[in-house]
Amino acid sequence: MKKIILSSLLIFSFGAYILHVRILSSNAPIALTQKNTKPKIDLSIPKYDQIVTNPIAQIIKPTPTPPPPVINTGKYKNGTYTGDSVDASYGNVQVKVVISGGKIADVQFLDHPRGGNSTRINNYAMPYLISEAIALQDSNVDTVSGASYTSEAYRQSLTSALAQA
């Protein structure tokens, strides 16, 4: 439970940090997204390719390119919008959406049952990972991975926030 709270706080504080950086540097791309090397930590296990019996295909990944500058091409107006507080079965959910470049840049939680600001975050051991609010895309794909269930409260609050944007 403690780890979950710590992880949640880490992710949310990172979101806040991104927002902070954006405010300071307006349209400049976020520096963290330009990092394209992935420091690998050795697991305390036998080396991966020595113990696996299946042949493993060599992946040749494309060279990462820096993110393009933010241009307002999306369907929303830039700004910050607050959604309704919606009763989820475990408490209220209320989101604040940050629109940048016409697209959802961040979703912050104003009212959250798992909130708690008395815990200090010790995140030095964790790598920083990028977070984003999920956003629907067109369904022009070859096939789909995953399946679903519904979190109605989140959807309601996000919808009401985006209705203002």
Partner: protein
């Protein structure tokens, strides 16, 4: 050419884009999945896994495929620090968290052995890709919106020869639990999609990392050759460092 059958209680879809594709290839792969289902389904009274759970078959007299699955399960348990375990809370064996990816991998090998180069094999949202799609482009796979029952895509990834597996508590109920705390129902994470060198690897690590809750994404981050996209119950996605290499066509 794309064909679909319901096997193992889930849609199994095969798409082959090579000109040399023959109906026998599809039939052979579907027959293989039926064989796997007959052997490994815990829902079938006649399956070998059911006989093992009823103690009608001793572990040392198991079939070679069953031995292999047990061996791979044990190996996965070690690789994941115990977050993967085919022993269920009631003490029986349920290897389905490994068998789906393993069987998709083997089905793909059947096609490759026939010289097929451009195909996908998928079962229940877990996919092995090879080569190109029918338009000659790399495969475009959509990640399903975990908050919707309808087909809704929240991310597109572009892959050629990879495995893509998504774990989550959806459709079939809470089918993943934390083996280290069997009363702990994973609810903070809505879905975790893993891209790996093949579907066997992607599936077993997606299942294991999902059971780790919010720590799971960091486990995948440390695995060389794997990327992941984790969606929490609030609709916030967290991705591994090089995940975005797969989001560009």
């Amino acid at each position: 050419m794309r064909q679909e059958q319901i096997i193992m209680g889930t849609p199994v879809i095969i798409e082959i884009n090579d000109k040399e594709a023959r109906q026998e290839f599809f039939d052979e792969v579907f027959d293989y999945f039926k064989y796997v289902d007959e052997k490994f389904s815990t829902y079938k009274d006649t399956s070998e896994i059911t006989a093992i759970n009823k103690k009608e078959i001793a572990k040392d007299t198991m079939s070679d495929d069953m031995k292999k699955v047990f061996e791979l399960s044990e190996q996965t348990k070690k690789l994941t620090g115990g977050y993967f375990d085919i022993v269920t809370p009631d003490g029986s064996y349920d290897p389905s968290g490994l068998v789906k990816g393993w069987s998709i991998f083997n089905a793909s090998e059947i096609l490759k052995n026939h010289g097929v180069k451009n195909f996908t094999v998928e079962a229940g949202g877990d996919i092995q890709t090879s080569g190109k799609n029918e338009n000659g482009n790399v495969w475009c796979i959509g990640i399903q919106n975990p908050f919707s029952q309808k087909k809704e895509i929240i991310k597109k990834i572009y892959v050629s020869d990879e495995g893509i597996a998504t774990s989550g508590n959806y459709v079939r109920g809470n089918h993943i639990y934390n083996p280290k705390d069997k009363n702990d129902i994973i609810e903070d994470i809505s879905s975790l999609t893993v891209i790996g060198p093949n579907i066997f690897e992607a599936d077993r690590f997606a299942t294991s990392a999902y059971a780790m809750g919010k720590e799971g994404i960091y486990f995948i981050e440390k695995l060389d050759g794997f990327e992941a996209y984790m969606i929490d119950k609030n609709g916030i996605a967290t991705m591994t460092t090089n995940f975005n290499n797969y989001t560009k066509q």
